[in-house]
Symmetry: C2
Subunit: 197 residues, 2 copies
DNA sequence: ATTTTTGATAGACTTTTATATATCAGAAAA
DNA sequence: TTTTCTGATATATAAAAGTCTATCAAAAAT
């Protein structure tokens, strides 16, 4: 297709993948058939403005007309935003992995405690979400609380607090955008307002 | 039409008007019939991405997908750019008006000099162009030279130098984008790379 | 190993853009 | 005033987008 439109459709696809959405779930959210999204990303069709805007919004993107002389600046801003979100996602993944390792390293009797079991469930479930910078901060809190517990394994109240915070975080995410935030098979990142709407 | 696309088509129209292009001349440059542009600006049609990109580029604009959280920053950048270009155009208009007044205030015999006549022609012709920040700087030079002449009206060489610079500026503009840069009836501004392409 | 998910692709059909060409009223310029 | 220019609008036609529905191979999860 027209080479001029390629950058747009490509960054549309990149955004979708960053958010870990499949063509089907994105289509469901935006009200567009999966087949159409496929053709758009492949550059087979010359999509209409309304479709473009619709898809962009679903991906937390806004279409803007930027003066030639300013494109470099804007692109730098966008790249920086992407970078930060990717870093957040990576950081979150790292913390979650660490938490899981900590739990698995616990003695058997402690591991069978209901609090610990629940905590483990939350950890595993959260690994399937795409986490933002805000979420990362909360995860770091949880990690700190867990450190307390690590220092004094007899006291289960710390673990309880960690479990509570974790469940709150997970439920907030689930409420937020519904099941659509669930990531696909590959490592998925998120691209949206880290700086307060 | 879909309310979601309105901001885009509106800023397209705004950009065209800033550049002082008629729907017809823009259409000629972008290879699109005037009737189509009218319908686009009126929001009657849901134009295709390729058309959008084509029109945008003709207007020195680039289509970009900006993360929600960053739209405010980007919009500030765009507004600032617009503002600077509008200021340039206003400044240029002011200088040209001043030059014309200066010439008309000259004694009849000096006014009939060929150099002065030519200079006056350039001034009047340039008033029909949309001038950028770069052009403004050159105009300021001319204005300074004219001040020399004002101080010593017997010495026509200063006027000659002013005339030369003026013609160079005009021809550069004419070469640049062809007759399409000629402004419409209303005060017209320009929106493009003030900072070296 | 089996089930599920993902992206690509196809056919039939409707809706819409986009083009070419004209016309027209109102604003601006001569 | 008269001419020129601008934007809105109409019609007919060709060329696509967009939807619905389904299928399919490969990758991934169980």
């Amino acid at each position: 297709m027209s080479y001029a439109t390629e950058p747009v459709t490509l960054s549309l696809k990149a955004a979708r993948e960053r958010k870990g959405l499949s063509q089907r779930t994105l289509g469901a959210q935006a009200g567009v058939p999966q087949s159409h999204i496929s053709r758009i990303e492949k550059g087979v069709v010359d999509l209409r403005l309304s479709s473009l805007v619709e898809l962009a919004r679903t991906l937390d993107l806004e279409l803007m007309l930027v003066p030639r002389g300013k494109t470099a600046v804007v692109q730098a801003i966008i790249r920086d935003d992407d970078q930060r979100n990717i870093q957040s996602a990576r950081g979150a993944a790292k913390i979650l992995q660490h938490l899981e390792n900590q739990i698995e390293a616990l003695p058997g009797d402690v591991q069978s405690e209901i609090v610990i079991q629940k905590l483990q469930r939350w950890v595993r479930e959260l690994m399937h979400f795409n986490l933002s910078a805000d979420d990362l901060v909360q995860l770091q809190d949880v990690s700190a609380v867990m450190q307390e517990f690590q220092n004094d394994p007899c006291n289960l109240s710390a673990a309880g607090r960690a479990e509570t915070r974790m469940s709150v975080l997970r439920n907030a995410l689930a409420d937020d955008v519904g099941a659509s935030v669930m990531s696909g098979p590959r490592p998925a990142y998120r691209l949206d307002g880290d700086d307060h709407g």
